[in-house]
């Protein structure tokens, strides 16, 4: 189920602006890869190219390849909608659909894709909510609106929604930045569990978090304002945080800049 990602010489543009310069990296299946780096260095942008969400912004485009188990998701024959069904995403701010109940939020992806069998949807909703460690908290109020939950619960609802469509890869764009420490811990535990079934890429500003949850870490940086961001180094998390090969990485993680 989990698939590997290989990014080859990926250049990312917003119109004429060159946002990210020539990224090459690999993400093995059933692992957690963390993207760290200062604001504006392009880590979220790289993440969004991995499931073709980048091109939702008008004028945005990429050059290079992103391979999912060897298949280029940017080849002209590929339908971005299919790519996004395979590679799910969780966003920085929890964004449950305000018109839908908790249950309908979880199964929204399947329902909108045409699944009508209510009983099957109930089962999937329960499995996804259990998977997101939210089931016990919401099982008695599945028909309440998604907006009635707390921020941390909403974010876990969004994770449940993302895993309900059974993707191969889960992308997380600073999933804990709007949450309190307890909710953050809940989500980090969840990531450790999800790792058994999914390939996970997470963007985070919290270096302790990167160190806690990830197997490998990629450090992005940019030379200056208006310059494209670039991948400085990617390595095992332990190595990055104890003995990085680049001076810039060491400066960043030790808090000397950024």
């Amino acid at each position: 189920m989990a698939k590997r990602i290989d990014v080859k010489d990926l250049d990312i543009y917003y119109g004429k602006f060159h946002a990210v310069d020539s990224v090459t990296l690999s993400v093995p299946p059933r692992s957690v890869t963390a993207f760290i780096g200062p604001s504006g260095c392009g880590k979220s942008t790289v993440l969004r190219t991995l499931n073709r969400m980048h091109e939702v912004v008008p004028g945005a485009r990429v050059e290079g390849q992103v391979l999912l188990d060897g298949e280029d998701i940017y080849s002209s024959a590929v339908d971005p909608v299919q790519v996004r069904r395979t590679i799910g995403m969780v966003f920085q701010r929890p964004n449950p659909f305000p018109t839908m109940s908790i249950r309908d939020n979880v199964v929204a992806g399947l329902k909108l894709a045409g699944t009508k069998n209510g009983k099957k949807l109930d089962e999937i909703a329960e499995r996804a909510l259990r998977g997101a460690n939210l089931w016990s908290e919401v099982k008695d109020r599945l028909n309440k609106p998604g907006g009635s939950l707390s921020g941390g619960q909403q974010q876990r609802l969004c994770i449940a929604r993302a895993i309900a469509v059974r993707p191969d890869v889960l992308l997380m764009d600073e999933p804990c930045s709007a949450l309190d420490p307890i909710s953050t811990l809940a989500i980090e535990d969840l990531i450790a569990e999800l790792k058994k079934d999914y390939t996970i890429v997470i963007v985070t500003h919290n270096m302790q978090q990167a160190a806690r949850v990830s197997d490998q870490t990629a450090f992005f940086n940019l030379a200056g304002v208006g310059q494209p961001g670039r991948l400085v180094e990617i390595n095992d998390t332990e190595k990055i945080f104890s003995n990085p090969s680049e001076k810039a990485t060491e400066d960043y993680i030790s808090g000397r800049f950024g």
């Binding site: 969400m53 909608v81 069904r85 966003f91 701010r93 964004n95 909108l112 609106p145």
Partner: protein
């Protein structure tokens, strides 16, 4: 010992957050007076109009024949009859206008917000909608007259009125729907795309339902507005004192047209039959529009995203 000294010292000096300078107090008072004054000035004519309409119009409203008969069988100075024919005309013409304008206006708004981006077509469309919203109703009426009656040779009818009202309603629907669609957060669209939902389905199932409550409100306001329009009625349809369900032929009354016809042909003396008819029709129109607005509020509450 020192602590008591500190205590007395603290109490002796005035509390830091309670010192408001006289100048600030004066400015505050002035601003308060101005705000209240503007409020009263704005509300006074509203209350006055409402009072006049109710006081002058209430006489005939409570009778059932006011709501169930037309003026076909009563003389112009004879007490009796009702405005059923005009209510039917107003509702039919308004409904037909809404049936044409709402889908058209909604589709234009969806194009502008979801597909147009900054494209030239979108800019031209926005500009045209702006111009259309500034067109006086008499111009819309004359345009339809030239097109429908002079060019196509079709008869003056309630439907021609609906067409002129469409020209007036579309820009309002486009504008309000556009605004409502724009305030749907992009987060929701992205969340839907990220689940592998195609764009058209995202618009249909996520964006529209989220904006629906506001769109309904805007449509109803636009409808209430065009139902009170008069110029197209004077140009595009003849008055009939009888009930006419047919939008496409013969004269068809409506409340504003009835008021204008009575004014032109009947006595306006207070207490006379004509006077009562005009003000009765005015109050009837106000009541219909109030009911529509009330319905709009109820419906948009029902479909609004819920918090609890």
């Amino acid at each position: 010992m020192t602590s008591t000294l500190d205590e007395t010292e603290r109490l002796a000096s005035p509390p830091a957050f309670q010192q408001v300078s006289p100048a600030r107090k004066a400015k505050n008072a002035l601003a308060t007076v101005l705000v209240w004054l503007s409020f009263l000035i704005a509300v006074a004519p509203l209350v006055w109009v409402l009072y006049t309409v109710i006081a002058n119009g209430i006489k005939r409203i409570p009778y059932t024949n006011w709501w169930s008969e037309d003026f076909g069988s009563v003389l112009s100075d004879e007490v009796g009859g009702g405005v059923l024919h005009a209510v039917i005309g107003t509702l039919e013409q308004g409904l037909m206008c809404a049936i044409i304008s709402v889908p058209l206006g909604l589709l234009v708004a969806i194009y502008l917000v979801e597909y147009g981006g900054g494209s030239r077509l979108a800019k031209v469309t926005t500009f045209m909608v702006d111009i259309l919203s500034g067109v006086p109703s008499i111009v819309a009426a004359l345009f339809i007259y030239a097109l429908w009656i002079t060019t196509f040779g079709l008869p003056r009818s309630g439907f021609a009125v609906s067409l002129a009202l469409v020209l007036l309603m579309i820009p309002v629907v486009v504008r309000s729907a556009e605004e409502m669609l724009r305030i749907v957060p992009d987060d929701l669209r992205e969340a839907s795309y990220a689940l592998g939902v195609p764009k058209w389905k995202t618009i249909m199932k996520i964006v529209l339902p989220t904006a629906l409550s506001g769109i309904i409100g805007g449509v109803m306001m636009a409808l209430a507005r065009v139902m009170g329009e008069t110029a197209p009625l004077l140009v595009l349809v003849g008055y009939s004192a009888y009930v006419n369900w047919d939008l496409f032929s013969n004269g068809q009354a409506s409340l504003p047209l009835l008021m204008n016809t009575e004014r032109a042909t009947n006595s306006m003396e207070p207490g006379s039959v004509g006077f009562d008819r005009i003000w009765g029709a005015a109050l009837t129109l106000v009541i219909i529009i109030a009911v529509i607005n009330l319905l709009a509020t109820v419906v948009s509450r029902l479909v609004a995203p819920k918090k609890k």
